[in-house]
Symmetry: C2
């Protein structure tokens, strides 16, 4: 039943503190909810969906005995955190996955320092998946990956990319236990051209949208890299997600020799 208590609970998950108190988060939108309910690794606490969605996904809902509540679009809007609710909202159990240092050592990883925009984080996770970066690390003061806007912007990539929060210095210390010379690339304004840098697997540090990389991290960067710009263009920086996309693309190209 679509009860008042359930509406209240679902809406409470729009806030980080409630998500972490209950170890649950919400996933929205026809396409991404479908991916979540089909995934073998996700536990769905509740599924709110319009009739059309339920009919289209009846087999998997029955097979997994998902607790589904049929709602109208108006009812869906009552619990949605997005401007345009779309067919389904799922409440999903949080899971913790340890950082895979073996994967980092072999393929490299992204480190996001104080990233604040939910759309940027989600988009970066989507890009990371596209180019095969399976580990994304965030500073503890970065935006919460369980923010509904982040989940939405990943377009499902959150199911395939391992996201963890860790202080940079702790991460670096852990990596250096086995790889003392692990390269640390950092996107800065006055680094070497990324087009002229030997981009081997390493830690790729992306800074905050307006302030860039924190001071306590900058000194640890072994390869400062910059995306060259047209002279006299006037724009001071690229969007963080776009800069990350270009950087991931360049690393991918180098590592795949294409």
């Amino acid at each position: 039943m679509f009860s008042k208590n359930l509406i209240k609970y679902s809406k409470s998950l729009h806030l980080k503190k409630n998500r972490f108190a209950n170890h649950q988060f919400i996933v929205e939108g026809e396409k991404i909810v479908k991916e979540f309910i089909q995934s073998d690794n996700q536990q769905i606490f509740k599924l709110f969906a319009v009739q059309k969605f339920i009919e289209a996904n009846l087999a998997i809902i029955k097979k997994k005995k998902i607790d589904v509540i049929e709602v109208s679009l108006t009812e869906l809007a009552q619990i949605s955190a997005l401007n345009s609710p779309n067919e389904a909202v799922a409440i999903v159990k949080m899971q913790s996955h340890d950082i895979n240092y073996n994967t980092i050592n072999i393929n490299g990883a992204l480190y996001l320092d104080n990233l604040q925009d939910p759309g940027n984080l989600g988009t970066i996770i989507r890009t990371a998946d596209w180019f095969g970066f399976k580990e994304v690390l965030c500073s503890p003061n970065s935006v919460d990956v369980y923010n509904p806007k982040v989940i939405q912007a990943t377009m499902g990539a959150i199911l395939r990319v391992n996201v963890n929060y860790i202080e940079f210095l702790d991460l670096e210390a852990n990596i250096k236990k086995t790889s003392p010379n692990f390269p640390i690339f950092g996107a800065v304004l006055n680094g070497n051209s990324i087009f002229k840098t030997n981009l081997k697997p390493g830690l790729i540090v992306i800074g905050n949208e307006s302030q860039g990389i924190s001071k306590h991290i900058v000194n640890h960067i072994t390869f400062p890299i910059t995306i060259p710009a047209q002279k006299n263009n006037g724009t001071e920086s690229l969007n963080a997600a776009c800069a990350t996309a270009i950087i991931c693309s360049e690393f991918f190209k180098h590592q795949n020799l294409i």
Copy 2:
């Protein structure tokens, strides 16, 4: 005076039909409003700003005799179209700039087909400025460039990039009058690797966020290009603004031989 009528008028500009009826649009945020009032090419109808902003920009406000109204942050929130209003909102007169076919012929241009997300359009304009693409063309059904979220996401690049709306077939016909063999690149899912394509100046077509490039345009693409992905990654596509950033970066690299 911060009158009710003025609040009502300012808010009315959140809607496209009112922007075009009045030939005015709103610009928000400390940094970008500052760029607009400093620009010699912009006509400011009204400036709403907190005391701090006015003091910091008093010289230019006086020099240009800008009609400024001091407001509180709460008052600013009454007219703002953004979630977090920031120091200043300006009402600016729309200007029309013709498409510069000469620039297109020499440097190439972006064509955005049915792009819908305001953040994507703004971010693409910012990226275009970074890499020196001065002409951005949009299909008439794309999101309005004067949408406050678009202006915000350009981070000021809108002052330097010429954005126009035109049907693809009309644009193509105009270009081909002087350059019958002008290359038309299109970002598609099954094209040739962008990393292996000779990227000379041309028209670069980017499609809608979920549907890609329209059928009536696809047949006109002479160079279908694709951003390669890690095998078995699961993510079906990149965010449109990120894909455009990677494409612009590759074109920039080729044309600057770096």
